[in-house]
Structure formats: structure tokens, C-alpha cells
Amino acid sequence: MSLLMATFTIGLILSVLAIGVLISFRIFNFADITSEGSLALGASVAAVLITSKSFGPFTVLFISAAAGAAAGALTGVLHTKFKINALLAGILVMTALYSVNLHVMGKSNVALMNEETIFTLFNKHLSISETVNETVKISGFLVNLKDLSSALLSLVGAFVCGLALYLFLKTKLGVAMRATGDNTQMASALGVNTDLMVISGLAIANALAALSGALLASYQGFADVQIGLGMLVWGLASVIIGETLVRDKSIGLAITAAVMGSIFFRLLVAIALRFGMNPNDMKLITAVFVLMALIIPELGKKNKLTESRIVKTN
């Protein structure tokens, strides 16, 4: 049961990353690998600030997200102002962030034992002890209260982020941003500062990635410079699984779908590991999975095309 709760919690925490990936991948149509660096940046900044004990947990999350936003904005500037290919701009910033993260932490990982994080703060408010393992019975299952409160907090976090993004995308600025990704020529012709939209869109996406990293470090009790490795493909998998679960393409549902996809994918992986999958194979399987998810719809289209061609020639 504890494993299941942890799976849920991590799925929810990473869904914040997935929502960010949704912005770059579905609004701007490219997979922004800066997210991997930003997630690790968020984790590093959070870990260092938490151990310094000079900021409250909310401030820590805010500063981590702001650091991610700066990284995303940098990718956006490289892409729009210096005309560097978007993927390459992301790779450059991600690579640079690796060193930045090492400098931020001063070493390759930081442990957060007995530090005050957003999770322990939440426990304190609910009067849940950090040391004693209290449990409650929910429909016959024994559930650890700490696990429950962490899952609850992650749920609230994912919900707040998802709702904020949803509301933003429905504002005048939000539709201008979506139009920029959908048809840049049209957006420019209608007076949208498209460069600024790309820069701020990537800033938001990477702020979410960094926030996800900060939450992950707080929850797991450590930050590691490698924490972001493979996370972009994770985010993509979440977005894609979500789209398969929820076929509707409206924004609200797309965001909900990304969150659901993240949880669902975590569950799949947990089950696979439980049934003896070699953990070393996890990234390979994830990558193959995303590849298939990208290829299958294209194959479907091609078949339809050839079909219609046959009909026409007849």
C-alpha cells in the first residue's frame, strides 16, 4: 500500500513536469529538452535553499520555479533572437545547466534529512508526526498517514498548477501564445509579438519543470545532479498516454489528461518493476514506448492516404 501511495505521489509530482512538456510539445510543437536541466535545477536550488534554512518552504518552491523560468527564457532567446534551431537551443542550455547545477549544490547530490520541506510543513499543519508511523484504515487497507498527506499535497500542487495554466491559456495573452505556436505568420500579422510569446511560453514550461524537480527533491529527501536524466521522455510519455486516455483535444482536458497520463505511466512502471522488469531497462522501454506512440498515428494516416489513392485511381 505504501508503494502504491508513493507511486501516486511521484506520478502527481511529475505531472507538473508533464504539464510543462505539454506547453512546449503541444503548443510550440517541439520537445524542449531544457526541461531535463530545469528539473534538476529546481531540485538543486530547492535542496540548497532548504539546507540553508533561511527560507520558508513556499519561498523555496517559488525561487526554484523562477530559476527554471530563467533557463526556459534563455532557450527561447537563443531560438528566437539568435535563430538557433529549437532542439539545439534546448540541448545547449540543458548541457550548460549540468555544470550550473553542480555549482549550485557544490557536489553531485545533497541529502535533506530532517529538514523542513513543504511536505513536513504540511504534516505539521495536519498534526502528523514525522517520527511515529501513524496509520488509518481506508476500505480495509492500512494507509500510512504521512504517505496520505504527501499524496494529498501533491494532488493539490498538480491541481493548482493545472488550473493556473488552464486559466492562463484562456486569457488574451494565452490565446495569443497558442496562436503563435499554431500559425506564427497569422499571429505576427495580427500584432502578436511572437518572439516574446515563445520566450515566455518556454519560461512557463521550464518553471513548471523546475517546480516539479523542487517537489521531487523535497519528497524524496535528496537532490541529485542526474535527477533530470530521461525526464523529457517521461513527460512526453505522460502527455501521449493522457491523450490516448482522453480523446478530446480541448485545453482543459489536455491538461487533465497529462496529469492522468503521468500517474498512469508511473503505475505501469511500478507494476512492471514489481513483476520483475530489470530497472536498467526502464528508460529503454520508455523510449520505445514513446516512439511507438508517435509512429502509430502516422502509420494510420499513411494507410488512409494509400486507401484513398486506390479509390481515386479506380
Binding site: 486569457t171 488574451k172 490565446v175 495569443a176 505576427s188 500579422a189 509579438n193
Partner: protein, 270 residues
């Protein structure tokens, strides 16, 4: 109102693909006038319109709008004054956004976009009325993605969007060329009515002599990046499609002669 002074633009300079798309275009357009631009393929008509819209930087020359130098102003800022409809019916709308959302983006042309909702109920009601005025039955499909509409429907909406906030200048680049004749005629009729209603200053590129004769109060002809003819007032009114065909024939003859002249010169001087 719009003043173009000695515009020059060479694409890919110094390479084998070098094209002198504009070579010394000067033109003055009066407020409320309707200018039709004619010319053979590749003569520089679209380039001229794009120069005004600001999609590229000129090599030299000055563009003034209402007495203000806008030569260095980025495209998105000029868009505050300029409405545009493109030749490709898919260029002017965002396919994965709804009709209402597309109109919302257009309704903020020239205004500051902030955090207020894009589709307030007042805005939606306004969009409904505007779309209804197209008489295409699209007002009941405001929440459908524009990508699900036909090219003609999308072009009509692009026109509506370009004029949603009255532009100082309307740029139309062969905007009916990709449509079937019936839809094209319908979009052209819409164009004519919106221009008349708002008394818009218009620049229209076309390949149709009939359109050129029927519409507008001035015809200019472009050839190899230069203005070679300019008819307005009574001269324009007197023009018949046949006269325009004549002018095109003359260009063709010139192109035939050019290489010949070249050979003669070579034979004599090289």
C-alpha cells in the same frame, strides 16, 4: 497616407540565387484609395506588399504611414495599422483553435493583450454578430476548430479578422486565387462591401484583369521590381481587360527581345 520612397530589396545577394525583387519602387497612396497591383509571376508584387507589412528588412528606402517613418518598425507593431489576407487560405487562421478564439486574437490587433479572459460573453456575442454577417452559417460553429472549415470559409474569416478592428491599410495578396470561382466571387463581394463600408485604404494584388478593371480606382503594374505603369482617375476608368492584356503582351515581347539584344551586343562588343 502611405508613402514608399525608393525601395530596394535583393534576396540572396552575392549567390547564384540572387534576385532583385524591388529595384527603386516609389509610390504614394491617398487615404481611402483602392489600388490594384498587376504583374507577371515573380515580378515583385508580393514582395512589395511584404515590404509594407514589414516581414523583411529593406536594403534601402523609406516607408511612411500617416507621415510617420515605419521603415524600421517590426512586423508585429505595424500590424496595429495593417490588416492582411494571404493568397494561401490556410495562412491567415490558426487551424487548431476555434473560430471564436481566432477572432479573439484578431480583435486584439493593435491593443495590449493582458490577463483578461479571451472569450467574455460580451466578446462572444460580438463575434457571433460579425460572423453572422458573412452569411455562411458559421455563426453556429464558433466553437469548432477552424481547421475543420473549407478554404473559402477560412478565407472569408481571415478577411473578417483583418478588418475586425478597422485597419488604416488593407493588404490583399491574390486572396481569391486559390478558391473555386463561386467561392472566390463570394469572398470578393465580401471584400468589396467591407472596403466600402469602412472606406478602407486598400492594396490588392491580382492576376485577374476583370477584377482589376472592376475594382479600385488605381492600377499599377510591376515588372522586375519596378513600377512600369500607373493608371488612375479617368485613365483607370477607361481601361478594359483587353488593354491590360495588351500591356502583358508587351512585357512578353520585351522578354523575348532581351536575350536577342544581348546577343547582338555580345557580337558587336565582346
Amino acid at each position: 497616407m502611405l508613402k514608399l520612397i525608393n525601395l530596394y530589396k535583393t534576396f540572396n545577394p552575392g549567390t547564384p540565387d540572387e534576385v532583385r525583387a524591388l529595384s527603386g519602387v516609389s509610390l504614394s497612396i491617398a487615404a481611402g484609395s483602392f489600388t490594384v497591383i498587376l504583374g507577371t509571376n515573380g515580378s515583385g508584387k508580393s514582395t512589395l506588399l511584404n515590404a509594407v507589412a514589414g516581414t523583411f528588412t529593406l536594403d534601402s528606402g523609406v516607408i511612411e504611414l500617416d507621415g510617420r517613418d515605419i521603415t524600421g518598425m517590426p512586423e508585429y507593431k505595424r500590424a496595429a495599422y495593417i490588416g492582411r489576407v494571404f493568397q494561401n487560405p490556410f495562412s491567415g487562421t490558426a487551424p487548431n483553435m476555434t473560430i471564436a478564439e481566432n477572432l479573439s486574437v484578431a480583435s486584439m490587433r493593435g491593443k495590449t493583450r493582458g490577463f483578461s479572459p479571451a472569450l467574455s460573453s460580451a466578446a462572444a456575442a460580438g463575434f457571433y454578430e460579425r460572423v453572422k454577417s458573412l452569411n455562411m452559417g458559421l455563426e453556429d460553429r464558433l466553437d469548432n476548430n477552424i481547421g475543420s472549415l473549407s478554404g473559402g470559409q477560412r478565407q472569408a474569416l481571415t478577411l473578417l479578422m483583418a478588418c475586425l478592428n478597422k485597419p488604416r491599410l488593407l493588404l490583399l495578396d491574390e486572396h481569391t486565387a486559390a478558391l473555386d470561382p463561386k467561392t472566390g466571387a463570394k469572398v470578393l463581394e465580401l471584400t468589396r462591401s467591407v472596403i466600402e463600408k469602412d472606406n478602407l485604404t486598400t492594396f490588392m494584388v491580382t492576376h485577374s484583369m476583370q477584377q482589376a478593371v472592376n475594382l479600385g480606382d488605381r492600377i499599377i503594374m510591376v515588372y522586375k521590381g519596378k513600377l512600369i505603369h500607373d493608371f488612375s482617375g479617368a485613365d483607370k476608368k477607361a481601361l478594359k481587360p483587353r488593354d491590360l492584356y495588351e500591356l502583358f503582351e508587351e512585357i512578353k515581347r520585351r522578354e523575348l527581345i532581351d536575350p536577342g539584344v544581348c546577343d547582338i551586343l555580345k557580337a558587336n562588343y565582346v
